[in-house]
């Protein structure tokens, strides 16, 4: 019996969303009276045993270069092998880009019930019921998993990582690694920027900023806060900002600790991508902007005046 956590890495480093998944998996293991184990694919430069401080006691590593790029089919087969070897009852993923590609395949392969997008620990007092976000963050569903083996993917930024003491035993895991069918030819990462879905703070701009030439004030604020930048859909559509920054129902869904919306009206489709944020700040010159109803803090004012002042105030 165990809880197996898939530990996602990129360029040799464990992703933040995976630390959340480890903490979640370790807490679940404690709740179920069992141990938390991890599985890592590919070559990692980091000291994996240090992940023990998030509660994982054993890590199975398949240090094969082939696995440095995502081939969902290969990943699923290796993770499934690890699950069988560690006698897992529950497999935990982060519901990040990799998790979205792989968790479902593992669930289908092992005929395990899947809850994708979980946001809290399962209720195991009577069956196994997991809470997840539905309706693009506008509601939650409690989903019961009936199969013996269960797969959960955890929404990024919805479970706090807790680091304590401890080291994990890292052991090579001899899995069968087949030939990849997906050949990755180029990787194009926006360097120097905080990835939107991993960011603690997101600063986002809408049509109220009038044009791409005005984004400087927003970028300055983001830089001061160490924040990722985002935008509303019309801003992405007009190519004022790269399309991957567009948040909302049809764009990226984010759940940072702090979301600062500048010159965004707060249409329901926009809110659907941001309403899982812990704290929302709205800066809009229209007191009737619907976004204020979803906000925790607000300033009714002209962004071109307020935002530079805010950046300066934070600097102090």
């Amino acid at each position: 019996m165990s809880v197996l956590i898939f530990i996602d890495q990129t360029e040799g480093h464990v992703k933040k969303s995976s630390l959340e998944a480890i903490t979640y998996g370790a807490d679940l293991a404690k709740q179920m009276g069992t141990t938390a184990e991890g599985v890592v694919l590919g070559t990692v430069t980091e000291d994996l045993s240090a992940l023990g401080k998030y509660g994982v006691t054993k890590i199975h590593q398949v240090a094969n270069d082939t696995l440095n790029h995502l081939d969902a089919q290969l990943y699923a087969s290796v993770i499934s092998e690890a699950a069988t070897a560690s006698g897992a009852n529950v497999i935990v993923f982060s519901h990040n880009q990799t998790g979205k590609a792989v968790a479902a395949r593992v669930a289908a392969k092992l005929k395990a019930g899947l809850v994708a997008g979980a946001c809290a620990l399962p209720d195991t007092s009577n069956g196994f019921v997991v809470k997840k976000t539905v309706f693009s963050g506008k509601a939650f569903a409690n989903i019961s998993i009936q199969s013996t083996l269960k797969v959960i993917s955890l929404n990024p930024n919805s479970y706090k990582t807790v680091a304590t003491e401890g080291t994990a035993a890292v052991a090579a895991f001899a899995a069968t690694v087949g030939q990849p069918r997906v050949k990755v030819t180029t990787v194009n990462k926006i360097t120097g920027e905080v990835p939107l879905t991993e960011a603690d703070i997101v600063v986002s701009g809408g049509r109220g900023l009038k044009g791409p030439e005005n984004w400087g004030i927003l970028l300055d604020l983001a830089k001061e806060l160490g924040a990722a930048t985002a935008c509303s859909r019309p801003v992405g559509d007009a190519h004022w900002r790269p399309h991957h920054e567009h948040v909302g129902q049809t764009g990226v869904q984010v759940a940072p600790n702090l979301y600062i919306a500048i010159g965004i009206s707060g249409a329901i489709q926009h809110l659907a991508g941001v309403n899982r944020s812990k704290v929302i700040v709205v800066i809009n010159k229209d007191p009737e902007a619907p976004f204020f109803k979803a906000a925790d803090y607000g300033i009714v004012g002209d962004a071109f005046e307020v935002v530079p002042q805010l950046t300066a105030a934070i600097k102090n």
Partner: protein
Amino acid sequence: MKILVCVSKTPDTTAKIAFTEGNTKFDEAGVQWIINPYDEWYSLVRAIELKEANPAATIHLVTVGNADAEPIIRKALALGGDEAIRVNTDNSDAYYIAAQIAEVAKQGGYDLVFTGKETIDYNGSSIGGMIAEMIDAPYISLATKFDLNGTTATVVREIEGGEETAEVALPLVVSCQKGVAEQRIPNMRGIMAARTKPLKVVEPAAVDALTSVVSFELPPAKAGVKLVAPDNVEELVRLLHEEAKAI
């Protein structure tokens, strides 16, 4: 070339989200139903474009749902596609739905299966991966570009903080999002043509659902916005720091 496009029915993006029967059912009163935007705007349109480039291609649409999904399927057919298949059942478990589509996919021998990135009601982002596993095909999720060169696809997909390009041989399952295509509006000719396109109804394969919905909840209401004067941004910084502990 045969393409299968998965189409699902979702509440309109502005629909009021409420629940009935002791919070166990979505309240459908007054709800407008639409084609899931990712299916309509991106995967379906890209499939139509592929057929425009290669008229020998055929496009089949598949939906797993009850008879009330038919208006949605007809609307999708009005955009394009040759025929539709409806698997006559309405279970919400992803494994169950994927198994039904995988069955259709196996029987039809498709080169390409397109899904949307996710449904905007269930937000699983999981049906595509499950289908791929069930039909033993590679899976590219979160595609932002899709090109075909003979039987090799070149796909750009979203990764954390960027994108990567991958090459994969068909058959293949792809989940599509923004970037793959541009939204289209059905025209009169399409709407007329859709009326006579075949819509086959098939009964579901015997598959056990592995999950079920116990209940729904709405998030707690926000306490209400605290407004700060525009000439007092220091106060906002203080609140964010001391009260919200967000910076």
